[in-house]
Amino acid sequence: MQVNQFHSLFYAFTFYFFGLVAIASAIAFVTRKSPVAAAVWLVLVMFSLAALYVMLDAQFIGAIQVLVYTGAIMVVFLFVIMLLNLGNPSELADARGKWGYLAALLIGLVMLAEVMALTRSNTIDRMIPPDLAAKAAAAAAAPLAGGVIGPIAAPLFNEYLLAFELTSVLLLAAIVGAVVLSKRRTNAR
């Protein structure tokens, strides 16, 4: 994989732009009364994240983020909202009270502080493997085999084959479960 040189100003600007969009959309998402509006804002968050993925040199992930997450999962969410007719905002207003909001905000801030503390740059520095520069140079010298997908596909079907198969079983279980759970019972009421 190629290590991009992240010092370009354009790059930084784009990164911050999409980051801020993500945060703003997330805050908007969390504070909407209507589930449909919330879903749409979440879609926007996911788009921003997809852009960030691409910028972080995970183009495939960015693509499937749009395809799977926004295209499939969020669509399912919207379908369910529509099916159950939950779109009306007036019945669903929260009445948790301002103390609840403050407490939640406090918990969130504390967690953020802790996570930030844990991700100090020296922690990051310790995570950098010592032969990073050598690996980056070697990777830059050698052309990519299999294009962008290759580095993902190769481990997926080699080292993580078992996990891959298990995931397929998981999907099967999910499908069966979903069908069973949402079937209408026609005979025994």
Binding site: V30, Q65, G108
Partner: protein, 97 residues
């Protein structure tokens, strides 16, 4: 960019947490959980710039599992809605002890 990405991931995760704590609508809470999962995906991808493609492989798995989970979870919500005609979590307290 790594540090900024990780910071962004933390912030998004926190927003998701606040959403889970604050909202009462089951579907919105579910969507907040999806937001948290996305934040974690961002973390994985950011760190994969450092440690190789393994991070992205994990993101594939995470997304798959998120999809399965969304399907099943929504099916459950449908089933509950059919039973109680509401998705307001405060009214679903049959397990109250």
């Amino acid at each position: 960019m790594l540090v900024e990405a990780l910071a962004l991931s933390a912030v998004l995760f926190t927003i998701g947490v606040i959403g889970v704590l604050t909202r009462r609508n089951a579907i919105i809470i579910f969507m907040c959980v999806e937001l948290m999962l996305n934040a974690v995906n961002l973390s994985f991808v950011a760190l994969s710039t450092l440690h190789g493609a393994t991070g992205q492989v994990f993101v594939v798995f995470t997304m798959t599992v998120a999809a399965a989970e969304a399907a099943v979870g929504l099916a459950i919500i449908i089933a509950i809605f059919r039973h109680t005609q509401t998705v307001n979590l405060q009214n679903i307290n049959i397990l109250k002890g």
